[in-house]
């Protein structure tokens, strides 16, 4: 009954505050692009309304800019947002990853300094984990963090840092002890405006410049910016990567239906089927796997709600990346030469978009733990296979 009341309250508030112009708009556009976010008046109105209400981070304490609500109430907000085609404008690296980390490992001072500005999405955070020499083997990272008495001095390089050129702050893994591998890593919060920090966008095969390499040249960082104990960073990172993996598996799974495009581009036979039998067989095979994947997401969610094993995230990620990548390839194959355009009116806009999406999809089996790493995890945790 209480839930029903709260749901009604959410509905009323949303209908009064959500700008109708944003209905059905993908919130990731604003999450990934500070310029787009700044340029949209509607987005700013919506962000401010949710920030003031504390509903972007509903379960956080009011002192941290949240609304102090229960998980059940947070779920109601999420359901009602999705029901009207709205999105959470506060959602960011800060809310999904750093926030939960500070709540678990941070000091009260750190929480009060950072969480309120994450819960309003005034400041953008980036994640400084990977380095040129530390990809899948993340714990081999080398960025130096030296104790200089009243502050730390950081030097080294990070890479694949999403949105670093637009970020105000960075949460980074740094090396505070070179004599041990995992036990020599610390978790540090770095102000991106500090002297000696330089972020350079990297141009990807899809043309995207979302990822950066970031250079740190003798950057001074206050002592209070270290989260947890010195050399405890790996444990924090492992926990944080769980937040990342669980948010990855929530990735939206609706995709452009292939059948109408295949009918248009490849023709149909007398029975209305895709005329190219070979392409049709491969498209159907992929579409069926996609259908079974969606059933699997539903099943895992239902099992998780009922206290199931919950060790299927790695399996799910590999199934998803494999199926979605294959689908992107098939779409571009069906588009033929139309799917090979980079720019220009000779190529339909949606075909160009499909091609960029194909190129982008290659990252799915690399980021957030590569296909190979996920299979190592499955072998060990789900299947109990022995180490070498």
């Amino acid at each position: 009954m209480e839930d029903q009341q709260f749901r009604q309250e959410v509905r009323d508030w949303l209908s009064a505050n959500f700008p109708p112009a944003l209905t059905g708009v993908n919130g990731l556009i604003f999450q990934g692009d500070a310029h787009a976010a700044a340029a949209s008046k509607d987005f700013q109105v919506w962000r401010k309304a949710m920030a003031d209400k504390g509903w972007g981070t509903p379960t956080w304490d009011k002192a941290y800019g949240g609304a102090g609500l229960s998980t059940a109430q947070a779920k109601i907000i999420a359901q009602e947002l999705s029901a009207i085609g709205a999105f959470n404008p506060i959602r960011s690296y800060g809310t999904m990853m750093l926030g939960p980390t500070l709540l678990e490992f941070g000091t009260e001072e750190q929480r009060l300094q950072h969480l309120p500005r994450i819960s309003t999405h005034e400041l953008r955070w980036c994640q400084g984990f990977s380095e040129p020499g530390a990809g899948s083997d993340l714990a081999s990272l080398q960025m130096k963090c030296v104790d200089a008495g009243d502050h730390w001095v950081v030097s080294g390089q990070k890479i694949w840092t999403s949105g670093a050129d637009q970020a105000d702050w960075c949460f980074a893994l740094v090396r505070t002890d070179t004599s041990v591998k995992h036990g020599g890593i610390s978790f540090l919060l770095i102000d991106m405006t500090s002297p000696g920090v330089e972020a350079r966008p990297i141009v990807l095969i899809s043309g995207s410049t979302h990822f950066c390499e970031v250079f740190f040249n003798d950057v001074k960082v206050p002592k209070g910016n270290l989260v947890g104990a010195v050399n405890q960073g790996w444990n924090i990172a492992k926990r944080l990567l769980q937040f990342e993996r669980s948010s990855l598996s929530e990735v939206k799974t609706d995709v452009t239906p292939l059948a109408p495009i295949a009918h248009a581009m490849l023709g149909t036979d007398a029975e209305g089927r895709i005329a190219d039998a070979d392409a049709r067989a491969r498209i159907v095979h992929n579409a069926m796997r996609h259908a079974a994947y969606l059933q699997t997401v539903r099943r895992f969610n239902e099992e998780a709600r009922n206290g199931g094993p919950g060790n299927g995230v790695s399996t799910l990620k590999n199934l998803w990346s494999g199926i979605v990548q294959r689908r992107a390839e098939l779409l571009v194959e069906v588009l033929g030469a139309d799917g090979l355009g980079w720019s220009g009116n000779a190529y339909p806009a949606d075909a160009r978009e499909a091609t960029r999406a194909l190129l982008h999809s290659k990252a799915f089996s690399i980021y957030g733990g590569s296909y190979e790493i996920q299979n190592n995890i499955t072998a060990k945790r789900s299947l109990g296979l022995p180490d070498r």
Partner: protein, 375 residues
Amino acid sequence: MAVLNEEQTMLKDMVSQWVRDQMPVSVARGLYDHSGGGRRDAITGFDKDAYAEIAAMGWSGILAPEAHGGSDFGAFSLGFVLEELARTLSPLPLLSSAMIAVSALRLGGNAAQQSAWLTGLADGSIIGTLAVDEGAHHAPHALSLSAARVENGWRLDGIKRPVADGMGAGLFIVAARGDDGATLLLVPADTAGLTREPLDQIDARRPAMLRFDGVVLGDDAMLGQGEPLLSAILDRAYVGQAAELLGLATQAFETTLDYLKTRVQFGQLIGSFQALQHRASDMFGELQLTRSAVEAALAAIDADDPQLPSLASLAKAMANETAHRITCEMVQLHGGIGMTHEHDAGLYLKRSRVAEQAYGSSSFHRERWARLNGY
């Protein structure tokens, strides 16, 4: 595995326990002769005594209505019983009789037909099976066996093969070609003009070849006519067979996994090699997709979901492919020992190939799914 209620959990535990105690793979192995083919004396191709035992526990009546001695427990429950039993390749006619024949009578039977047959099917005293295939491939839309209208009844001429569990069945549900398309008829095994002979199949299950030579039936034999009824019955067959394949594939995978954890070469457990770990992880993923598809299709039967035809073909195609892949890997990863009749890998491979063809190959179901979904 989907979330079960208390009664379902009890049933599942009971089945697992019974399979462990009473139905090791050696029972299926016992149907083979020494050369790897089927034993001539085990002519029914299934274990009659074991079927009586599980019928006494009520498993053959899971789908039957309570008025006819069943428990009306639903397809989802019968599905996980089929899955558990298939883990050890249990040679039992539960799919043929309790799933398919009971469904046929529930879907098409009038009150008299249901009274005549459902109680016996539910208590296991009668075994029923569907006689649909006639040649090399499952082709329910191209039936040859003819049902001609005669005075006060029907006359059947033609053959059916392979008919699963047909050597021990007392009731055949025969899909024939009538003047108005598919016609389903109830044919008791002792009807004059009907003869049967066993086929020595690679899984030693000995399905039947039925010959209908001027078989004359009364009007009361007519279960129903038209594609929708045949399709509805076949959907149950597709999903039930998929549930068996899921059980078979799951056990084949687990047996292989155990081998990877015990076999030592180069001074190490072979399961520590990354190449093999990744193959195992990939197979585990395929099993997850398959389980989801099978469970969704079983639930769709109970929910009378109009999407059932599409979900059933998805389940059978996924189960076919996964069981195929895992039984191949089972032999390969066991190496030489996996090639011997003495090892179980071959029994899983052979049973899998039969079940993959039964009620439609992967390409049959991909084509069906494609048409249903506008490809």
